[in-house]
Symmetry: C2
Amino acid sequence: MSLPRIAVDAMGGDEGVRVMIDGAAEARRRHDQFQFLLVGDEARIKTALDSHPNMRGASEILHCDDVVGGDELPTKALRRAKTTSMGLAVNAVKIGDAGAAVSAGNTGALMAMSKLALRTMPGIDRPALAAVMPTLEDDDVIMLDLGANTEADARNLVQFAIMGAAYSRIILGRKPRVRLLNIGTEENKGFDRLREAAAELQNATGLDMQFDGYVESDKINRGEVDVVVTDGFSGNIALKAIEGTARFVTDLLRNAFTSSLRSKIGFLVSRPATELLKHHLDPNNHNGAVFLGLNGVVVKSHGSATAGGVANAVTVAARLLEENLTQRITADLAALHALKGDVDSNGSAEK
Amino acid sequence: MSLPRIAVDAMGGDEGVRVMIDGAAEARRRHDQFQFLLVGDEARIKTALDSHPNMRGASEILHCDDVVGGDELPTKALRRAKTTSMGLAVNAVKIGDAGAAVSAGNTGALMAMSKLALRTMPGIDRPALAAVMPTLEDDDVIMLDLGANTEADARNLVQFAIMGAAYSRIILGRKPRVRLLNIGTEENKGFDRLREAAAELQNATGLDMQFDGYVESDKINRGEVDVVVTDGFSGNIALKAIEGTARFVTDLLRNAFTSSLRSKIGFLVSRPATELLKHHLDPNNHNGAVFLGLNGVVVKSHGSATAGGVANAVTVAARLLEENLTQRITADLAALHALKGDVDSNGSAEK
């Protein structure tokens, strides 16, 4: 059986059609079973495809003229869900024309369109945005929510933990270590909702994850945790602080290395070391945030991602399809409710 | 007129008495007008003082046996405010025996003792913890609250902005640029309390600050803002994410530089550049977080600070005394209330 294809919003992002098509083509060079539905301006997509003979038999074009603006309010963009490249890519997942959608457009609009078209999975109250970040060790860490919900209660946080753990197992191939983000590791730290979620996760011993309590934001990238769970406000603050500081330090480093002739020579000699560092920190290597908890896979590529970054986002979408992310989350939710003795048939936990 | 002296909790911190006394002595070498009240075990303080003839005529010892534990609950520590080195250092400020207190002990206990002994200033509902961080430009940025209050409403945030701006003016010598931490810069982002605080700060045009709206956490260190205002949960998340990432990148860099002979040679040649980087990122160079909004100056030194770090914390305390921080905040609060047309005599804003 062939895999379901991936719908690519060719118009989103700061870099235009070419980088999206180049990225899809690069992903297909890595895995030649991918099939694509390319949504957007047909003439521009065709021009971009000219450089990629490997895409010819693998892609269909769905033409449209309309594009969601980068600064557009989600409520306004929602009204054009049926005419925009972003809306049509998401709709392709809804109607079964594709298994996953990838867009580099406006995050708020993509979230709103995806929620409305795909709806949340049974047992999930709110979807969450999850991303993968590097650590000092070999394994990557997943953090969620990164901004899909400004607030989250204890029940949301438990669901985020289950969704993040399912995603992490696909990446790591083992039982992930899960923690809640807090401002200390002592039991009395933070909010009531954190303590309630911690208590519930501590008791849910039958789940395919290891809950290790709280983590502070200076320990996210130490390799001691696989899934960091938080509300969208705190998650967004932590993610951007990490991204901003990585850039801040590399900018300082660049200034320092170019401040004297001796430093310049040192920089040239140690180029392999700084290349390694750059490779490790380049956000393109971890591109592709995922909306978890919907009936379908939607991946957000960074607006300024390179073709290599887009290829990574497309690969994330493909991998989650191959590994049946949605079904894994459903199974974990069922296990949680079985532990709690719920009889609710639609799978939502009663409080 | 001689300056009020500084009470130093000689027992707090992971590094023991010697680092606190060495730090105070280093601060006094920079500014020889400082006088000290050294609180803690007399014998150990005397031994540490033996290396510092410059401290002899400048310090008095207040002996006590009891010490607040690093993991002790603040509520428990509070009961020993009259017997511990931390409690007695803070009490010295209360009774006018010192103008400021510096401790490297348990942050929660120091906050609780300081609040109880010194009380919040008229017009301030809650004190806040503020720290200084480096930026890509020459000027440092101040962020608050960093964890004194888990939550903050709009009124608290406005007061934090006024306190942070008063502190920033002392450091920068000019009108500071103030922003609220948020997960986007659009008006509809974040919580109602952020929008309310933004509206009030926007209208308060007579204050000695320039309010520039929101800042995202990846822009804190770009040199575009002087004071970042937030609640204690988000502030603590952002601060630790920044600290942790700076350490993460320097660790990666160290690994990269030592991974090959060529890199090692490059590292040696470019040592001046990496020293500059290390100097810029060393937390000791920005040591000394301040509890703002109390009737007296209390400075928290990092538990693992070096003597040089302690010297910086002591210098922060001295500078805030010299520059009359508390009176500056009082004047700004009066200006805010005059703008709002409040007639409340104790200076607290009516809602």
